[in-house]
């Protein structure tokens, strides 16, 4: 059976995507900065009518059309839009791939009759894209090269066996060749594809390189060229629809266990582990309850994940019953296969991860913390509390020579000070409703604020830290701020 290729070109994909997200009236263009020049990346029909062209510099465009509205081009979202169009267009053929940054190509051999023939398929595709307000040109031909050439020059259908006639009238630049080759061909008097078809290949190849001959032969079907569908990224979601609604917690947990087995085997197949898992329970009255859990580390062990769902499922209102369960891993991380069994160390790691998961799911993972050293001279900033599940333990740096307290708290003002001589801590002071007498003092250690970072707590300027032993027992960490005189307690020693 003859191969039939469908090519779709979205000439205004970027501006269509941008306008879909935020509609705009009148002349509109997306602007891309190359070097230090802004130029028009993609423009809509109104802007083209006003005489603007793609690639024109923004200054020129503004001179021609002062009311031109612009937005910066967003290449990643353009790519995502093409990708979603590709997924949508797979309704016409499973063999579909992207072509360049703004085109799709699909192998529709043996598919067209399902849509009532090639004309109807093309009409259906055009109508759907027009309804979605996406500018598109489509073409059907017997080879990929011919479909590509045709779609850039108005689209249409080339019937089977009429390739040479169908694309003969197109200029040679439609053949996916570079500008220099196209210019060279035009200069020697071969502006159309029809001029090339009957020429001997060898002199052509010798003069313009093998690329031109390859492209020509591909367009004419002498050289094969296939469409390879890109692999779909794996989707980690499973669902279960029930003939009768369920309402008991044990029934939901049983359904969850079956779904988890399927999800975990899917994760194992792709060497991934789940980090967040979401269970959606659709009720008979179409309301949806969601239960989401987090995991302390990538995991695909169904029994251990099921245990974390117990509390959330318990709080779900089943209403008149639940008839659909959907389970998806919303966040996955790579997790290579591990040797089963493992040693005691591995078991302890597992047990700790289970503890962090269960505590984190109730308290919130931002309340399950670990201390890691930070690079700062400021005592409060010399360590950081970070979520334990997203960090690894780090050994603290070398112990400082200067004394440091075992507990630290935000500075508390010392209310009354008695017997203070300049440059020494007070002989007696009151802190937390208790009088203390200084027995021995060690210091001062001067710490200056980080000038590159404005910290409100350090606006009072540099601090002179003292280790003060009191007659009452506690050994306190006091500091004095010479620039705004006052004594504060900031910590307690062993």
């Amino acid at each position: 059976m003859a191969r039939r290729l469908l090519s779709i070109w979205f000439p205004k994909l970027a501006s269509d995507t941008s306008r879909r997200r935020r509609p705009v009236e009148g002349a509109f263009a997306l602007v891309l900065r190359a070097g230090n020049l802004d130029h028009l990346h993609c423009l809509n029909k109104e802007a083209e009518i006003r005489g603007l062209r793609q690639g024109m510099s923004l200054a020129d465009a503004r001179a021609i059309c002062p009311e031109l509205q612009t937005r910066p081009a967003d290449l990643p979202s353009e790519k995502a839009a093409l990708e979603s169009l590709r997924r949508w267009a797979s309704r016409y053929s499973p063999m579909i791939a992207t072509e360049g940054v703004d085109g799709l190509v699909a192998d529709i051999s043996g598919v067209a009759h399902l849509f009532g023939g090639e004309e109807d398929l093309r009409a259906d595709l055009d109508a759907r894209l027009a309804r979605a307000d996406v500018t598109a040109v489509t073409a059907v031909a017997g080879t990929r090269g011919a479909a590509h050439a045709l779609v850039r020059h108005g689209g249409g259908i080339v019937p089977e066996g009429k390739l040479a006639e169908g694309i003969g009238h197109l200029p040679v630049s439609a053949l996916r060749i570079d500008h220099a080759t196209a210019d060279g061909l035009a200069r020697v008097g071969l502006p159309l594809i029809a001029n090339l078809i009957d020429l001997p290949r060898a002199p052509l190849s010798r003069r313009f390189g093998p690329g031109l001959v390859l492209r020509l032969d591909q367009a004419l079907g002498v050289q094969p060229e296939s469409v390879s569908a890109e692999p779909e990224p794996p989707h980690f979601g499973v669902r279960m629809t029930l003939p009768e609604p369920i309402g008991l917690q044990s029934d939901v947990m049983a359904g969850l266990a079956r779904l988890l087995d399927r999800l975990c085997s899917k994760l194992a197949l792709h060497h991934m582990g789940a980090r967040r898992v979401q269970l959606e329970l659709r009720r008979v009255d179409r309301a949806t309850a969601k239960v989401e859990i987090g995991l302390a580390r990538p995991m695909r062990d169904s029994t251990r994940i099921a245990a974390l769902f117990a509390k959330g499922v318990d709080q779900v209102d089943a209403g008149f019953g639940i008839d659909c369960l959907r389970l998806s891993a919303t966040l996955v991380e790579p997790m290579p296969p591990e040797q089963t069994g493992g040693g005691p160390a591995l078991k302890a790691d597992d047990a700790l991860a289970d503890l962090l998961s269960s505590v984190g799911n109730r308290l919130g993972f931002d309340r399950v913390l670990r201390m890691i050293p930070a690079d700062s001279q400021i005592p409060e900033k010399s360590f950081q509390l970070v979520p334990a599940i997203y960090s690894a333990a780090e050994p603290a740096g070398p112990r400082r020579v200067a004394p440091r307290p075992i507990t630290i708290f935000p500075p508390e003002m010392v209310l009354d000070t008695v017997g203070q001589r300049p440059g020494t801590p007070p002989a007696r002071f009151r802190w937390r409703a208790m009088w203390f007498s200084t027995l021995r003092a060690q210091g001062p250690e001067r710490i200056t604020p980080e000038w590159w970072f404005d910290d409100p707590a350090w606006r009072s300027g540099m601090r002179d830290y003292w280790r003060v032993e009191t007659q009452e027992g506690p050994r306190l960490w006091l500091f004095h701020t010479p620039q705004s005189p006052g004594w504060h307690v900031a910590g307690e020693f062993v």
């Binding site: 503890l355 109730r362 201390m371 890691i372 603290a396 307290p405 630290i408 307690e492 020693f493 062993v494």
Partner: protein, 197 residues
């Protein structure tokens, strides 16, 4: 003062495993860190989110900071739940918690059962006289003014002990390792001093 010398002192200061203990007094956090340095395994410190006092990373005894996890629940119920859950976990070596309200007998008993189930030690840093009767031991910890620049004396008194005698010790622990020096306590002398020469 009553001290029993049957067991070596280190064992007296060692918390009985798989039980929940209590410590009160101003220097209870130092006692907790001393116990943390002496135990192996994962350490979990559970302190309510509104409590400003935190362990200072740069001054923890060696080997503690890599093992230390800090849970900061928002309410007393969540705190007790977290303590019970952590005590039940077999992966943890020592659970240190700072409950803000006095522990009821029910709560204390539940924590003991959880500690037995998980074979984990628990140490509640309670406010004065806010403990529960179910505690295995209760320690009263105070800092004592030192006699020299580098002496950091601690008085750790065992005021309740379900499986042994009570006692009181003054020792010098500098907070860097699990090593300590016992300090003989000065006392008033009743007998006559030996005559010089």
């Amino acid at each position: 003062m009553k001290t029993h010398f049957d067991a070596p002192l280190g064992d007296s200061l060692m918390l009985v495993p798989a039980r929940v203990h209590e410590a009160q007094g101003r220097a209870r956090r130092a006692f907790a860190l001393f116990q943390a340095a002496r135990t192996t395994g994962v350490l979990v410190w559970i302190v309510a989110a509104h409590i400003p006092e935190l362990p200072f990373l740069g001054a923890l005894p060696s080997g503690v900071n890599e093992r230390l996890h800090i849970f900061r629940p928002t309410g007393e119920t969540d705190l007790l739940w977290a303590v019970e859950e952590t005590l039940r976990a077999p992966a943890v070596g020592l659970v240190i918690a700072e409950p803000q309200q006095s522990l009821s007998l029910t709560a204390g008993r539940r924590l003991q059962l959880a500690a037995e189930a998980g074979q984990t030690r628990g140490l509640m840093l309670i406010r004065n006289e806010a403990g529960s009767n179910a505690a295995e031991t209760r320690w009263v910890c105070e800092a004592v003014p030192g006699v020299g620049q580098d002496s950091t004396l601690q008085r750790w008194a065992l005021s309740k002990n379900k499986k042994g005698t009570t006692g009181s010790w003054v020792l010098n622990w500098n907070g860097t390792s699990s090593a300590f020096n016992l300090v003989s306590e000065a006392r008033e002398r009743h007998e006559q001093a030996p005559s010089p020469g």
